[in-house]
């Protein structure tokens, strides 16, 4: 399957975007993603190439379709594995992958989410063959040894201390997901529970690698200054011999409907307590997505938005407030969060936050704020075309999670079609009080003041370092 060439795309005028706006002239943008060439290797690996010679750099991304949702026993395995991919292979020593590319000016890193593990390399165009060969080498010949696992496990535990254990927001997020999802694997933190990261062994790592790091579970994205035919020939030569796996196991568990509000408290030594809430929302690609995005934008898209204006600016009770739609492959969330000004009341902030959610359900949003939110989302779509990296991320994400690359034109048309009635309908459908999960992050003294007398001891345990 191939997408039309640039010339063809130019001839098919409706394919290019028209950014409609009542007051302004309508600028036209060509969506470069339309020129993406999709190639399937015989072993099932997908290669998405988008040639663009504007700047002499290339963004290479390897999307592995595995995330924390695919972990069956040891949480954090997908993320730990992302780290292990830098720890050496048959021909390349530990850390050398990154060093070789950095010595050519490349920027190398990786990230893991609930759904995917992505390895990304932004390199000067001269270094693309090196990046491709190094990617193949670690996928074909990764060396998972006890020694490297032992040291990398400590690195991951430091990352966990940094991002979760000593970070108030990390603590709250961990609790929010564990509270919102009762059954689905999204309840587990991507970085894993501490015990699992401590205990997972070389054997589990190897099995995980051979199950999920197979060519038929990989999507490669190349965007920027390269020659498509030459690069595809190179990719076929080095990645072609990789052997596919028969089947890729996925978790069968679906989240049952939530019946009633859930609440949890996290105690942490903070000056600024915070309140976090989440509602179940549809998975990525759902037709209600754009209306939920608009709702999020109306809540927190800038200083004219409702949450800033009401909670931060007028009531002066919150330091910041935020809300929006978060879409994942199997399920989505709508979240709202506010951090409390030191000295202000968390009860007051929570009731202000939820009254804004109620307002979305109870009355249609104003025409002016609807247009403003849509316009903001539209401009951010255009801004996303500015770098190879952003383009590669969009193309890769769409293809892996939706099986196709959504043209910008389609997304803009969906956005433009959102009405005030749509926003109210999705708010009523998804944002009911009985379907929310609420987490409060408060200092221990504040929690103790309200808790029954059996609480002491908790604090001492938390303070003891391992």
């Amino acid at each position: 399957m191939r997408t039309p060439s640039r010339r063809l795309a130019a001839l098919l005028l409706p394919l290019s975007l028209v950014l409609a706006h009542a007051a302004a002239a309508a600028p036209t943008v060509e969506d470069p993603a339309l020129r993406t060439q999709i190639t399937k290797l015989d072993n099932g690996m997908t290669v998405l190439t988008l040639e663009d010679h504007t700047t002499p750099v290339v963004s290479l991304q390897i999307w592995v379709h595995v995330g924390s949702r695919d972990e069956s026993r040891y949480s954090g395995l997908a993320h730990l594995f992302e780290h292990m991919m830098f720890k050496g292979s048959k021909h390349i020593g530990p850390e050398q992958h990154a060093r070789l590319l950095e010595a050519r000016g490349g920027q190398v890193n990786a990230y893991t989410t609930q759904d995917v593990t992505v390895f990304h390399e932004d390199v000067p165009r001269e270094a693309l063959p090196l990046a491709l060969d190094l990617e193949e080498e670690r996928i074909a010949n990764l060396d998972i040894s006890e020694k490297t696992l032992t040291s990398e496990r400590q690195v991951v535990l430091e990352e966990r201390r940094l991002r979760t254990e000593d970070d108030p927001e990390g603590r709250a997020m961990e609790m929010l997901l564990a509270t919102t999802f009762m059954a689905h694997p999204y309840r587990r933190p991507v970085i894993g529970w501490r015990s699992d990261v401590e205990k997972v062994g070389v054997e589990q790592c190897r099995r995980f690698f051979h199950t999920y790091y197979a060519p038929n579970n990989l999507v490669m994205v190349v965007v920027g200054d390269f020659d498509t035919a030459e690069t595809l020939a190179h990719v076929r030569r080095v990645f072609g011999p990789l052997r596919p796996v028969k089947s890729i196991p996925r978790s069968p568990t679906e989240e049952p409907p939530q019946r009633g509000e859930r609440r949890a408290t996290v105690e942490f030594d903070v000056r600024s307590p915070s309140v976090w809430a989440a509602w179940h929302a549809p998975a990525t690609g759902h037709p209600d997505g754009p209306a939920l995005d608009v709702a999020g934008q109306i809540l927190s898209g800038g200083r004219a938005s409702r949450l800033y204006r009401d909670l931060v600016y007028q009531a002066q009770q919150a330091l910041s407030a935020d809300g929006g739609y978060w879409e994942l492959q199997d399920a989505g969330l709508f979240y709202a969060e506010a951090s409390v000004r030191p000295g202000a009341s968390i009860d007051r902030v929570e009731s202000l936050l939820f009254s804004e959610i109620a307002r979305l359900r109870d009355a249609p949003v104003g025409a002016e704020e609807l247009e403003r939110a849509k316009r903001q989302l539209l401009v951010s779509l255009v801004n996303g075309l500015a770098t190879n990296h952003a383009l590669a991320s969009r193309i890769g994400g769409d293809y892996v999670l939706l099986g196709r690359i959504r043209p910008l034109e389609e997304r803009i048309a969906q956005l433009q079609a959102v009405t005030a009635a749509d926003v109210q309908r999705v708010a009523r459908t998804y944002l009911q009080d009985s379907g929310r999960s609420v987490v409060r992050l408060v200092p221990p003294a504040e929690a103790a003041a309200k808790a029954p007398p059996s609480a002491p001891g908790r604090r001492a345990r938390k303070g003891s370092a391992r």
Partner: protein
């Protein structure tokens, strides 16, 4: 002549390559790196500069790939020009500038920007302040009008000033929840007592309590002067048209006097090793910051210093610090060093974190890596890798016209040559191992660093014996 000298090894390489073709070509990591072509950063005809009669500089970078524009006004003074007792005034002024300008109050201003899907930011750094708007090219007129209003005609409404002050005071308090911020603030205090660099960029509760609309208005009048400013635009606009519009919107701006940049910080800083523990009994991880005085943005040694730093701790996953502390020992997730470049010499800083019981081990490791950099300076291979990293990543950092315009304005703020981006790669390649060795001797002083550790004092204090005088403070 030159050609024939190069041709022989090339032929040999080709022969080797062909010879191996039977077994498949050799992987790229076994081949010498291909030569990197230094393309010009900006094609001729895209960049335009002008200076108006009032001394205002105008810079335009045309880029018609996307229908968007970024417009800004930068003045070459910032928080470093603020007296110690008013610390935070530049940032406070920037905040108030976003809260009403021209005929619009705070909410009307926010709406006028956000109705366009555009963004407005006003920021204050140590050496500059910037007002920037970005949005669709079709909204150029309105964006430019808002830019001029915010830069030239902020309202400094007293009611807004009171709200903003309360918000900033609350924000200062809340920022203490972040261990990394606590480490940075306390390190600055250790390095620069009595100097503006010694207090946090946003000020302290004591100084912020004293700020009001009148102070912000006076500061704005002092630093937003045409002769010390640059207006820039990048994206889908025409240079001639933009310059004409800037002349209309900013031509009447008074030239003004270029304000004083503020006194330079004391040196050496600190004169002797000092250790501070910021007591946070609840933390399981110790945040650690090391520092002493560094170099200025215009220091003639800066290319050698930056390459030396890249080898020691600045270069992504490849640095000596990353190798020793993360890769070999698994003691941290991240460790990095950097010279903070300001008009006056800013600090050299190393930042990392580790589980509390390992704090001392990490501190000793970091100090030994810095010490070794003086006795075992960057090797020819390390320097070569750092050079090709700097040269190769140069284009990556300047992929968009917004980034290039930003870098050009940055040069201008510090009075650096306008062609400094074009000459950068050549200057990096020209640095020698003798120069990086000298840079390490001149600018690394582990024996008298300030060291700040944020975490539980009870567990940290006994570990830190013998490092130097230890002070324990509350956040």
């Amino acid at each position: 002549m030159i050609r024939s000298r190069v041709a022989w090894p090339l032929l040999v390489l080709l022969a080797l390559g062909l010879g191996c073709a039977w077994l498949g070509p050799r992987p790229a990591w076994e081949l010498p790196p291909p030569p990197v072509e230094d393309r010009p950063l900006v094609e001729p005809g895209r960049l335009h500069r002008a200076r108006l009669e009032n001394g205002l500089d105008v810079l335009v970078l045309e880029d018609h790939r996307l229908p968007r524009v970024t417009l800004g006004v930068t003045v070459r003074r910032g928080e470093a020009s603020v007296p110690l007792e008013r610390a935070g005034l530049a940032g406070y002024t920037a905040e108030l500038m976003q809260r009403g300008a021209g005929k619009r109050d705070a909410l009307a201003l926010a709406r006028s920007i956000e109705d366009l899907g555009a963004e407005l930011s006003v920021g204050a750094d140590w050496d500059s302040m910037t007002v920037e708007v970005s949005g669709l090219a079709s909204d150029l007129d309105r964006l430019l009008e808002i830019l001029a209003d915010v830069a030239l005609r902020p309202r400094f409404d007293p009611a807004e000033a009171a709200k903003a002050r309360a918000e900033r005071l609350a924000g200062l308090e809340a920022q203490k929840d972040d261990p990394k911020t606590l480490a940075a603030w306390n390190l600055a205090r250790v390095l620069y007592p009595g100097h503006r660099f010694g207090l946090p960029l946003p000020g302290t509760p004591d100084t912020v309590r004293g700020l009001d609309a009148a102070a912000a208005r006076a500061f704005h009048q002092r630093v937003f002067v045409a002769r010390d400013a640059i207006v820039y635009g990048s994206g889908d606009l025409s240079a001639a048209d933009f310059q004409r519009r800037v002349r209309e919107g900013f031509g009447a701006w008074a030239p003004g006097e270029v304000p004083d940049p503020g006194p330079p910080p004391p040196t050496p800083a600190p004169p002797a090793r000092r250790v501070v523990i910021v007591d946070r009994p609840d933390l399981v991880q110790a945040q650690i910051a090391f520092g002493h005085e560094g170099i200025s943005r215009t220091d003639p040694q800066r290319y050698a210093v930056s390459l030396m730093n890249s080898v020691v701790g600045g270069g992504g996953f490849s640095s000596r610090l990353m190798e020793r502390v993360r890769a070999d020992a698994g003691l941290t997730y991240s460790v990095g060093s950097g010279f903070v470049l300001r008009r006056a010499p800013g600090p050299f800083v190393v930042q990392t974190f580790t589980r509390v019981p390992e704090a001392r081990r990490v501190i000793d490791l970091v100090l030994s890596v810095l010490d070794r950099a003086r006795t075992d300076p960057p090797t020819p291979k390390e320097l070569r890798d750092a050079q090709s990293d700097a040269v190769g990543s140069f284009a990556l950092g300047l992929e968009t016209s917004d980034a290039i315009a930003d870098a050009l304005v940055g040069l201008d703020v510090y009075g650096l040559p306008q062609d400094a981006l074009d000459t950068y790669r050549g200057r990096i390649r020209a640095v020698t191992t003798a120069e990086t060795a000298q840079a390490a001797l001149d600018h690394l002083h582990p024996e008298r660093m300030g060291i700040v550790v944020v975490g539980p004092a009870k567990a940290l204090r006994p570990q830190l014996e013998g490092l130097g005088p230890v002070e324990v403070v509350k956040p």
